[in-house]
Amino acid sequence: MTDTLTPVLTANWGDDKAWKLSNYERRGGYKALRKALEMQPADLVTWVKDANLRGRGGAGFPTGMKWSFLPKDNPNPVYLVVNADESEPGTCKDIPLMMASPHTLVEGVIISAFACNSHHAFIYCRGEVLHVIRRLQQAVREAYSAGYAGKNILGTGYDLEITVHAGAGAYICGEETALLDSLEGRRGQPRLRPPFPAVAGLYASPTVINNVESIASVPGIIANGKDWFAGMGTEKSKGHGIFSLSGHVKTPGQFEAPLGITLRELIDLGGGMREGHELKFFTPGGSSTPILTAEHLDVPLDFEGMAEAGSMLGTRALQIFDETTSVVRTTLRWVEFYKHESCGKCTPCREGTWWLVQTLRNFEAGKASPGDIEKLLDVSDNIGGKSFCALADGAVAAVTSAVKFFRDEFEAGCTTPAWELFPYEKSALFADSELGAHA
């Protein structure tokens, strides 16, 4: 029986200066790389496929299978791109990983690039995390100096360039094709598919794009075996994953556990809800995943469990809200986020989020009209599934799941401002004394 928590990627986060190469190596770092370099790239792909590693960036697509889609006969160079643009509201796992142990990612990058026959890898990291970028830059430099990157890696004749690339503020660049356009120095707007990146991605060359946590999981899988990895988790959701608990719990934080742990377990580990409060609703995997409520506390947090509950596992970003929270307010703020981050390319997202925000503001202010709930749902229906990429679907998920579970709060929005029903200062995490300071 596997333990409740299984620190793998997080295991060295408590170490002094874990970001240094020497400290990473002391814990066995880069042994997986040496092992991988003795294998055939194609066997590495099979290995990761057999381990059943599913993408950790939200969609859960099998990583090894993604690699196997690379064409064998394409004359263009293959690129590996790491999606380190962690921006989905609630999601906060890749940033601490890259800050604490950037070499876990870098080792994963080298192994994965070798497996994919790629000689140039990019780590596209969101720009608003200066210290993470510092540590990534330094880790890559150290890897070059140690002979893990650059020309003739560890004497094997394998060459790999690694480029750390800072974004400049755009949630949409977490969408893989928008990320590619951004990495090509363009506006980060999603591309038409097909062609898929595996065939024509960066510079129209075959490209693999994986999330930080997916790539960082690769060294462990190589070092410990595919069955070791597949031995954790549930039937179709294998391995370890980082669960990010935030909001109205006593001790929010990162918990690395086999997929399938429940929210009840996580909240217990987090010391329970904020003193004197109870769970009202939560997102299982970031704001783009439909909200769930206390009735879902015992649903396994895996791809299948969340799908059955009508939501998605997403990035395992569990944003916890207690009974002081106005659902209308929270929904508005999420939709404002999507409006702010809409790239503008397609009509339903650009115009639809503009409309939804205004409607939700009326609900928040208690100024909605009878019939506005139906309008809200119908407008959401006209957006959902019709936009160019999934960004707008996230906005729709927030709205429709909120109305589904808390219709009464929206009905109240026809008469009473949300801030009267749910005084906002009650939701704040600071002490009451702080609130009065400047009031």
């Binding site: 702010h340 790239c343 503008g344 397609c346 009509t347 650009r350 006209n382 599934g385 019709k386 936009s387």
Partner: protein
């Protein structure tokens, strides 16, 4: 020179198109593989609403208007969500349900229109697009009756100029990105781009860098709303008040099919027509906007006769009598200079007038630098060809390699440029240009530069022999006449390698004039004057006893005779500044024993004439042009006023009558019939010659020059906004040349030739050949007038104010690049 006969063409078995069969709204349809569902639907008569989709632009899927339901992708599985049909390829066995049969598709489309309208202003009554607006039309045909939106509309300050000609009203924009895709993909001028993001996303230029593209007007035409409008047409008319006439553009030899819209006897705007074989759905800004030169103050409205040294209005009778008296007095000492801008039928009228009425072969339409070598080349390689025998736009699109010789397509034949760019983008066409530097157009074609000092093109061609084969096409421009040996070398190269060859002149009437018999050595249909059978042919058809047997004088020789007071001239629409030596032309016109000018404007020539006959503008008569492919393009009468001016043919007819001879026709239709009846020459064609002397190697700096598309040519007159988008005049030199002569980027420099000098700001061009100075031919000042030399001529250059012509150091090596 490989001439593909008709049988050759048929022998090439076209690869059979692979078809896929799918079902749309229950109707089975087969379409070529790769067809998008939105277009497959058109084939079964279903019009799916759309904004961003455009068949000539890369699909983008941005507006999401064309959603359809896909119950079966062809693999037995349906798509869970509706799909944009403009990005969905038809697959075998696919089933599609459009708004015709699917409530899901209908709701998606209605919802999308509602979204597009929430931020769209309700200003249709004052919008130029009202009445022909895809948003307006589709909102009616596919939208909700009313909007449920009660929020605030997005507003911006009112229209901004993205160029002097193109205005952008951001509130009306639906962000379909047709304009930005056009500018980037089709013309390669990404000076407009999407800026900002989300709800604030908009089309924009950067600061003061305007959207000065030769093709900018197309974005107005393809804008599916009234967001882009032109300064020239704004608020001029309502679409439903306009009368549309299909015409062929008169500006260049591209042969663009246009739509000319007029109201109250005045052309209000011109649009690109739909001509897949020629201009597809595009045209250039000159063709679109430059149509007002005939309505300026200098329009000639009555005949003019010189009396006591002054041109004074006269009656038609008086003018005809005066002209006839003058021409009769000249006897066979007479020449005809009809220019290169006439319709085939009008050119044919001048040819017949010269040969059958005046009794001379002195006729030459080439009102530009020309040569004997060129005349022989035209007789051998151009005259008497049919479309089937010629290189076509389609050939350019399919070619492996295209070599440009003395030819800058973007400036000199913009639609050829667009087709080459399409081939470059879509079919990886390799373009090689023999030129002094990589021009803006060459860069956009990804062209390989074979750096060449003007005048030495023949030598550069020699070096290309083993790089050209039967899948190559050589495009040679009219400027080759100024580079001795080039045309002969081009012909020899084509024949040796099997490459196809096309000569692409600038003017719309050049090919027609050659076919109509406006060269001194060629009768209509490419018949050599020197060939007795050819003369008998023509004489019989014209009902005259005989035609003069000796080849006539070319333009230069005629002008020389005139300058000596030994020749009378009949001219039509020529400009002294277009000739190799403008001043000499003026003197010749002054000294001519008699000068008859048929003109619509009181040009420099008309002002020197003894008799001026006012003639109709192109928009006032009918006929046809032959473009560079030898394709016929019809010109229809656009403006039909009761007091319409006489056409050239009617004036020539009246003169013929008065001279007691027979022109044989009074109108374009009859002239065309007469020419058609004559048909093409089936006798021996002139053989290629190889007697040209190549230019000797020269010392010092050499002039390079060509005409920019938007320059001081008379056809652009009056269109202020258009001319404000023209490329400014600059002087281009290589870095080494700049250094040698002490020139600096942006600083003024003086270039001097035998006749004088001109001052221009310097632009240093990295890949330019050393010791070459490029200036535009006719922007600001006509270069031949200012310097007295043309391309290949010797010049000196110095920083303005500095002592000209003394280089800092001796030149060490020649043309690099």
């Amino acid at each position: 020179m490989s001439v593909n006969s008709v049988t050759d063409k048929n022998a090439e078995v076209a690869p059979r198109e692979e078809l896929v069969t799918l079902t749309i709204d229950g109707i089975e349809v087969s379409v070529p593989k790769g067809t998008l569902v939105i277009r497959a639907a058109e084939r079964v008569g279903v019009d799916i609403p759309r904004f961003c989709d455009h068949p000539l632009l890369d699909p983008v899927g941005a507006c999401r208007q064309c959603m359809v339901e896909v119950p079966d992708m062809g693999n037995g599985r349906g798509m869970p969500k509706p799909q944009a049909s403009c990005t969905l390829e038809a697959m075998p066995g696919m089933k599609i349900s459009t708004q015709v049969s699917s409530p899901v598709a209908t709701k998606a489309q209605e919802g999308m229109l509602e979204f597009l309208l929430i931020n769209h202003p309700l200003d249709c009554p004052i919008c130029d697009k009202g009445g022909e607006c895809p948003l307006q039309n589709q909102a009616l045909s596919h939208g909700h009756g009313e909007s449920r939106y009660e929020g605030a509309k997005r507003t911006f300050p009112k229209p901004v100029n993205v160029s002097a000609q193109v205005l952008l009203d951001r509130e009306r924009c639906v962000l379909c990105a047709r304009c930005t895709r056009f500018s980037e993909q089709i013309s390669g001028d990404p000076f407009i781009a999407l800026v900002e993001r989300g709800a604030l996303q908009q089309v924009g230029i950067y600061a003061d860098d305007p959207y000065d593209s030769y093709f900018s007007g197309n974005v107005i035409q393809i804008c599916p709303v009234g967001a882009l409008t032109s300064a020239s047409y704004r608020f001029q008319a309502r679409p439903f008040d306009l009368v549309s006439t299909p015409v062929t553009c008169e500006h260049c030899a591209a042969g663009c099919q246009l739509r000319s819209d007029h109201r109250h006897y005045q052309v209000k705007r011109r649009l690109a027509g739909d001509a897949p074989e020629v201009n597809e759905e595009w045209n250039c800004d000159k063709g679109r906007f430059a149509f007002v030169s005939g309505r300026l103050d200098d329009r000639v409205t009555t005949p003019l006769v010189r009396r006591d040294g002054q041109l004074v209005p006269a009656s038609w009778h008086e003018a005809i009598d005066t002209a006839v008296a003058g021409l009769k007095a000249a006897g066979d000492k007479v020449g005809v200079l009809p220019g290169g801008r006439l319709t085939v039928e009008t050119a044919y009228g001048y040819s017949r007038f010269a040969r059958a009425v005046l009794g001379t072969n002195n006729i030459d339409h080439r009102s530009r630098p020309s040569s004997d070598e060129e005349a022989a080349f035209l007789a051998h390689a151009v005259a008497g060809r049919t479309l089937e025998e010629s290189v076509t736009y389609r050939d350019l699109e399919k070619a492996k390699k295209v070599v440009l010789v003395c030819f800058e397509p973007e400036d000199e034949s913009p639609i050829v440029f667009l087709r080459l760019r399409k081939a470059y983008r879509k079919n990886k066409l390799e373009v090689v240009t023999i030129a002094p530097y990589s021009s803006r157009g060459s860069i956009k074609l990804g062209a390989t530069l074979v750096g060449c000092v003007p005048g030495r093109e023949a030598e550069c061609l020699d070096g290309l022999t083993d790089q050209i084969d039967g899948e190559s096409i050589i495009l040679v421009g009219e400027r080759a006449a100024q580079s001795p040996g080039t045309l002969q070398t081009v012909a020899r190269l084509a024949s040796a390698t099997g490459a196809k060859l096309a000569w692409i002149p600038r003017r719309a009437g050049e090919i027609g004039a050659i076919e109509a018999g406006c060269l001194p050595g060629l009768l209509p249909g490419g018949r050599p004057v020197a060939d007795a059978t050819a003369r008998v042919d023509v004489a019989a058809a014209w009902g005259t006893d005989s035609l003069p047997a000796t080849e006539g004088l070319d333009a230069e020789a005629m002008l020389a005779e005139a300058a000596a007071g030994q020749m009378a001239l009949v001219t039509a629409g020529i400009e002294p500044r277009d000739f190799a030596d403008p001043q000499a032309v003026r003197e010749a016109l002054d000294q001519a024993s008699f000068l008859v000018s048929l003109e619509s404007r009181l040009s420099e020539v008309a002002q020197r004439a003894d008799v001026v006959f006012p003639v109709a503008l192109l928009e006032e008569h009918a006929g046809s042009f032959l473009n560079w492919e030898h394709r016929r393009g019809t010109v229809n009468t656009v403006i039909r006023q009761g007091n319409a001016p006489m056409t050239d043919l009617r004036v020539l007819g009246a003169l013929s009558d008065a001279m007691g001879a027979e022109l044989g026709f009074r109108g374009s239709k009859a002239a065309g019939a007469s020419l058609d009846e004559l048909g093409a020459w089936d006798g021996e064609r002139a053989t290629a010659r190889s007697d040209a002397q190549r230019a000797a190697s020269s010392e010092g700096a050499v002039l390079a020059t060509w005409r920019q598309l938007l320059d001081d040519s008379a056809g652009n007159d009056g269109e202020v906004a258009l001319m404000a988008t023209a490329q400014p005049a600059v002087l281009r030199v290589s870095p080494a040349t700049a250094q040698r002569y002490g020139l600096a980027e942006g600083q003024q420099a003086t270039v001097s030739g035998v006749a004088g000098s001109m001052e221009l700001p310097v632009a240093v061009v990295d890949d330019m050949v050393d010791e070459v100075v490029w200036v535009p031919t006719n922007t600001g000042r006509p270069v031949r007038e200012a310097l007295g030399v043309g391309a290949g001529g010797s010049v000196t250059v110095a920083a303005a104010g500095a002592d000209a012509s003394v280089p800092d150091s001796p030149s060490t090596d020649g043309g690099a690049a």
